[in-house]
Structures are given as structure tokens and as C-alpha cells.
Amino acid sequence: MSMPPSSVDSAFSATPLRDASRWHPAEYAFWVLPVLAYFVFGENLSLLSQIAIAALFCLSLDLILGYAGIVSLGHAAFFGVGAYAAGLLAKHGWGDPLLGLAAAAAIAAAAGFVTSFLVLRGSDLTRLMVTLGVAVMLYEGANKATAFTGGVDGLQGVEVKPILGMFSFDLYGKTAYWYSLAVLFVMFWLARRLVHSPFGLSLRGIRQNVGRMPAIGAPVNGRLVAVYTIGAAYAGVAGGLLTQTTQFVSLDVLSFSRSAELLLILVLGGTGRLYGALIGTMVFMTAHHFLSGINPQYWQFWLGAALVLVVLFARDGIMGLLQKLGTRWTKPA
């Protein structure tokens, strides 16, 4: 992604920005990992798919929180809208997965667009309350509409057709894994281009100093509405993916704990870095899996302890720690 020269002052060099948008060798290495994982952890594919889905969900929060600085305690609202959109479509005969994802993205985006105007009003604390309120209302709505959503029992009869008419979902989760991973990669690639574009830079500007942005001609509200809508669409796609790979929608997709856990994962991984969302999800879900396997009753204690350590010793999350170590290693003082 290159900067259009007209938007840059001649005295200002865009080289560092261009460098940042270029793919680092470590990134290529990172994306080889999930492919390797397929062969190494072939028995855990359903967990790996859910990690990919959660990572996409976390990425969507990173776009709005990490880049634009909009704090949200109700991001599961859009995840749930996407999940129900894909589920209801499949239930009523439109089971094509890609169509389902497109619908999930569109409907979640519409929900995001509408609610973004509420989010614009007020600052951090108000936003926490507003996002939380929206999610709780959707949860209660889905709970009450049992005829439509299945309520707490979950949505039944979600039948997803094979992807592109060729790859059907199997018990081992092979199709589900490649599908989730491919969607995650494409969405990540798009997000990466987005954050390195002038639009992405203006978001960072808004986060750092909202008062100055209008002075350099960036429409703050328009940008925030746009990113909130995009973030909602991303979350919707993640929700749709979860529905399609599990062929079931539980009311839990809209729950507060899903929003709260997401925030936790993002803080663990490191905000505003894209890879922080991915690495945070990987670490959190893997730790969750192993700890709860070892000790089904008390595993949450160890997870809590790990989080306390991260907050004490790695303030910018795991990704921040890695970057710090990286710079120390490449540029010895």
C-alpha cells in the first residue's frame, strides 16, 4: 500500500510508513504456523478452527479499540447478529456458506452503522455503557423470541451446504479449519491494508488527539462511524463462521461474558497491532484448553494468575513484549 503523494507534504518523508505497510519476514513465518498446525495437531482441528474464529472476532475489536480508541463492552452484539443471520439463513434453505458470510457481514454492518451514532455521543465511560446496553438488549430480544431464535435452547436445524458446492463439513473438522483459516487470512489482509491506509492513519490520529484531527481536515465523526461499521461487519463474519462450522447457534453468542472475554484477550495480546489480536487469542484459547483439561474445576485460577503477570510485566500485552525484545535484539544499545 503506498501513500498517494498529493496527501503528503513534500518535506515529510513517507518512507517509515511505507516500510510499516510492507510485509515483514516474521509475518510470513507467522502465517506458516497455522498450516504446520494442521499437520502437527490434526486431532485438535475443531479447537484450531475456533481459535481462528475467535482471532477474527478479536481482530474486529482491535480495529475499533486498538486503532480508533472506541472502548466496547458489547462487541458480542455484532458477533451474535452475524451468527443468527447465518444460522437463520441456513435454517430456511439458504445454506451456502459464502452467501451466509456475506449476509452476516451485511446485517452486522447495518447494526453497527445504526448503533455507531449512539457510540459517537460521549466519551469512554459512556461508550462502555452504551455498547453494553445494546448487547444486553439484543440478548434479551433473542431470548424472548423463542419461536424465531430458539431462545436459550439454541437455534436448531442449521444445515450448511458444502463450500463452493465441493467441500462438505466433516466430523474431523478439516473443512471447517481450512475454511475458517482462509476467511481469517483474507479478512486480516484487508484489515492490514486498511490500517496502513490514510484512513487507518487518521484513525490513529483520532485516538491520539481527537481535538487536532479536524484541524488537519479529518472528519472525526465520519471516520468513527466508518470504522465502527467495519468492525461490526468483521465481528458478524466471525459469528457467521462459528455458526457454519458448528451448525448451531446458542444464545451465548450474544452474552456479556463473550464481550468481556474478548476485551481480556485483546489486552493480553496487545491492542493496536493486529497481530496482538491473533497472538492473544492463540495464547488465551490454548491456555484455556490445556488448563481446563488438566483441572476442570479450578483452571480459571491459573488463567487469572497468568493475566496478573501480563499486566504487571508486559503492559502492552504479549505483542508489545515481543516487539520490545525484538528491537533490543536488532539494535543493541
Binding site: 486431532e43 475443531s46 475456533q50 431470548n143 439454541g154 474431523y172 448451531f248 481446563s292
Partner: protein, 390 residues
């Protein structure tokens, strides 16, 4: 030992072609239960029942030693988590049988896994009627919601209760209970004089209680999730003088569950419910069971969930005895169909058509027995099938 030989011989004769594993291989049972989070008490009680069965009745089923693998599907309402764990149990841990399932979404989401992997699935709690229709390899040993709701409606109509006000929590199970109660009660000639759906979490019951008081029904039928809401409602019911006004309180028996009965306290006295298990059930089987329970878990009280786990294990044990240790899903389900036994809860059987449980439903009243609040049984409906499937 004789048993083992017998089952090896049986296995060799009948299944030489289809069963590659020796009958002496351990039998792996994967338990999917909510062990943490809001429904941790469910998982704990079911696990208690399962382990108690193994400890008291032996851990060798049909010549094969039982190996338990417990997976925490907290919060228990997220089908995606339960499904993933079930897939892992089948693919990685290579379990022979899937069991547990504290809540309905978990059972619903896992049923297709059981069908696809051809594994028997034993539901030890999840109570929505339709659960057993989701896989042909699914057998239930707990109860169904209509099964425990209809008898209290019948009892009420026969015992001078003409007008009932219903108050249910506003979620799926609440709607189901309301529907079943209304259906049975009006069919028996009763009248519903008012209906309220209260929010599931932290509702303020005061306006509802006042409305009920003004309507002056003979009784109120309630269905609320066991826990704080129940306690709040029962206390409010007495404090606002509804008991004094002669309004009776009827409910399903999961409300005065032994786990929370002491927390409700004296406000529960006189509550009439219909249910399939009470700690106070009088039978030699239950006496032996409750004594063993208190010995193993002195801090908890045996309730219907531990009973579901206990009977689930009994079913697995008896089926494997019958099949000579073969846990093939088709053979397992065939053997389970029509199976009858006397459980600590009373006589029960597996319906050969629906694979659901058929059992005696008791009408009970909360009383203080030897210093402890108990559900004392005083009436019963024998061999009661799930009315939700008729």
C-alpha cells in the same frame, strides 16, 4: 472373574468380525459437563452421581474397566464449546460413550456428533423434551420438562384448585413449562386467571406479587431458574401476605431442589411440587444411596442431578453387561431400549420408542424432617411418559 470370561467368550462369538478391540480394553466414557461458571453446581452434582456409582457398584462394566474423561463445557449454554469438546473426545481421546450434558444447548449441539461418529450418547440432565429426537443414539436418564410439569397440573385440578395464576421466567424452559401447565390444567377443567413472564435475571417481583394478590387465584404456578430468583420470590410471597390470603403455591420440583432448599428457608414450607426425585424418598435403594452419598460428599446434599448421573452410569453398566462390553452405538441403543430397573428415585425404564425415560412422578410438599427441609412425597403418578412427545 467368571464374568470376564463370559464376556470374552460372548464377544469372540458374536462380534469376532465387527469388534477389533478386546473386551478387556478399558471402556472410555467422555463426560461433557459445566464444571465452572454459573452452572458449576450442575456439573459437580452429576459428577458426584457418576463417581458414586463407580465407587459403590464397581468400575468394571461388561468386563471392561471404566475410564472417565471429564471436559468442562462452561458456561454450559454455548453449544459451540460443547460440540468442540465432544469432537475432541471422539477423535483424540477415542471415547466409546459420550455422557453428561448439563443444559439443553449442550445436548442439542452434541447430538449430531454422536450420530456422525456413531457413539452412544447418555444425557444425564438436559431436560427439553426434543433432546432425544436429535440423534438415534441418544438415551436420557434425567427427566423432561413436560414430564415434571403435567402431574402438578393434574394434581391441582383434582384437589380443589380451580383458578391458577402462572408466573414463569421469560426464557425457553419457562415458556415450555407455562405451555404444558396450561394445556394439562385447562384440559382438566381448570382456569388460568393470569399469566406473567418475569425477566430471567434479578427481577423485582413486588409488582407481580401485588397483581397476583389482587387477582385472588386459588394457587400460583411458578417456574423460575433454581437459585436467587426462586429465593427472592418465595420470601416475597410470604412477606406480602399471599400465604396469609390463602393463595397456594405450586411448582415443578427443581425449584425446591435439595441444593438450595436450606437457602430458601422456612418460606418454602408448604410448597407443593411434582418431581421424580426427592432425597426423602422412602425406599431401601434410596437409603443406601443417600448414606453412601453423605459418606463420600459430606458437604453436599444428594439431588436430582446427581441422581441423573448415577442412573446414567447404571444404564451404561447394564447395557454393557448385556452386550458383553460392546459399546457399538446400534447395539448399545438396542440393549438400552425397554431396560427397566429400580433406581433410588423409584422404578424407571427407558421408553423403547423414544429412548426417553419413563418414571414415577411424585407429588411432594416441603416439610421439616429431623431439622432439615425435605420434599416429602404424598402422591404419585406411575410410569409417566414424557407428554411433550404425544
Amino acid at each position: 472373574m467368571r464374568h470376564l470370561k463370559k464376556s470374552i467368550v460372548a464377544a469372540a462369538f458374536t462380534l469376532a468380525a465387527s469388534l477389533p478391540a478386546l473386551a478387556a480394553d478399558p471402556i472410555k466414557i467422555g463426560l461433557v459437563l459445566p464444571m465452572t461458571g454459573p452452572f458449576a453446581a450442575y456439573g459437580k452434582q452429576i459428577e458426584h452421581g457418576v463417581k458414586l456409582y463407580l465407587a459403590t457398584k464397581g468400575d468394571t462394566f461388561g468386563g471392561r474397566k471404566v475410564e472417565l474423561i471429564v471436559k468442562d463445557d462452561a458456561p454450559g449454554t454455548a453449544g459451540d464449546v460443547s460440540k468442540r469438546l465432544a469432537q475432541e473426545l471422539v477423535i483424540k481421546d477415542k471415547v466409546d460413550i459420550l455422557a453428561g450434558f448439563g443444559l439443553t444447548p449442550s445436548a442439542f449441539a452434541v447430538a449430531p456428533v454422536a450420530t456422525e461418529a456413531k457413539k452412544p450418547m447418555v444425557v444425564m440432565n438436559a431436560a427439553t423434551s426434543a433432546v432425544t429426537t436429535k440423534s438415534n443414539y441418544l438415551v436420557r436418564t434425567s427427566m423432561t420438562l413436560p414430564q415434571i410439569t403435567a402431574p402438578i397440573a393434574t394434581w391441582a385440578s383434582k384437589n380443589g384448585i380451580k383458578k391458577v395464576f402462572t408466573l414463569v421466567a421469560d426464557y425457553g424452559p419457562g415458556h415450555d413449562a407455562e405451555g404444558q401447565f396450561k394445556k394439562t390444567f385447562t384440559a382438566a377443567g381448570g382456569e388460568i386467571v393470569g399469566e406473567v413472564r418475569a425477566p430471567v435475571k434479578n427481577p423485582d417481583f413486588a409488582p407481580f406479587l401485588q397483581k397476583i394478590k389482587d387477582t385472588k387465584p386459588d394457587a400460583v404456578f411458578i417456574f423460575l431458574p433454581p437459585g436467587a430468583e426462586t429465593i427472592a420470590f418465595m420470601k416475597g410471597f410470604t412477606e406480602r401476605g399471599l400465604t396469609a390470603a390463602g393463595i397456594r403455591l405450586i411448582a415443578t420440583g427443581d425449584l425446591p431442589d435439595e441444593d438450595i432448599l436450606e437457602a430458601i428457608g422456612d418460606a418454602a414450607l408448604g410448597l407443593i411440587t411434582s418431581f421424580h426425585y426427592s432425597e426423602a424418598h422412602k425406599s431401601p435403594e434410596n437409603k443406601a444411596y443417600t448414606e453412601a452419598y453423605y459418606k463420600a460428599y459430606p458437604k453436599d446434599r444428594p439431588n436430582f442431578m446427581s441422581m441423573g448421573g448415577y442412573d446414567g452410569m447404571h444404564l451404561i453398566a447394564e447395557v454393557l453387561k448385556k452386550t458383553g462390553g460392546n459399546a457399538d452405538a446400534e447395539k448399545f441403543v438396542e440393549a438400552a431400549k425397554g431396560m427397566k430397573w429400580t433406581s433410588p428415585r423409584g422404578p424407571i425404564s427407558i421408553d423403547p420408542v423414544t429412548r426417553d425415560i419413563v418414571q414415577t412422578i411424585y407429588i411432594r410438599k416441603v416439610e421439616r424432617v429431623a431439622g432439615k427441609l425435605q420434599n416429602v412425597e404424598f402422591d404419585q403418578v406411575n410410569e409417566f411418559k414424557d407428554p411433550g412427545k404425544q
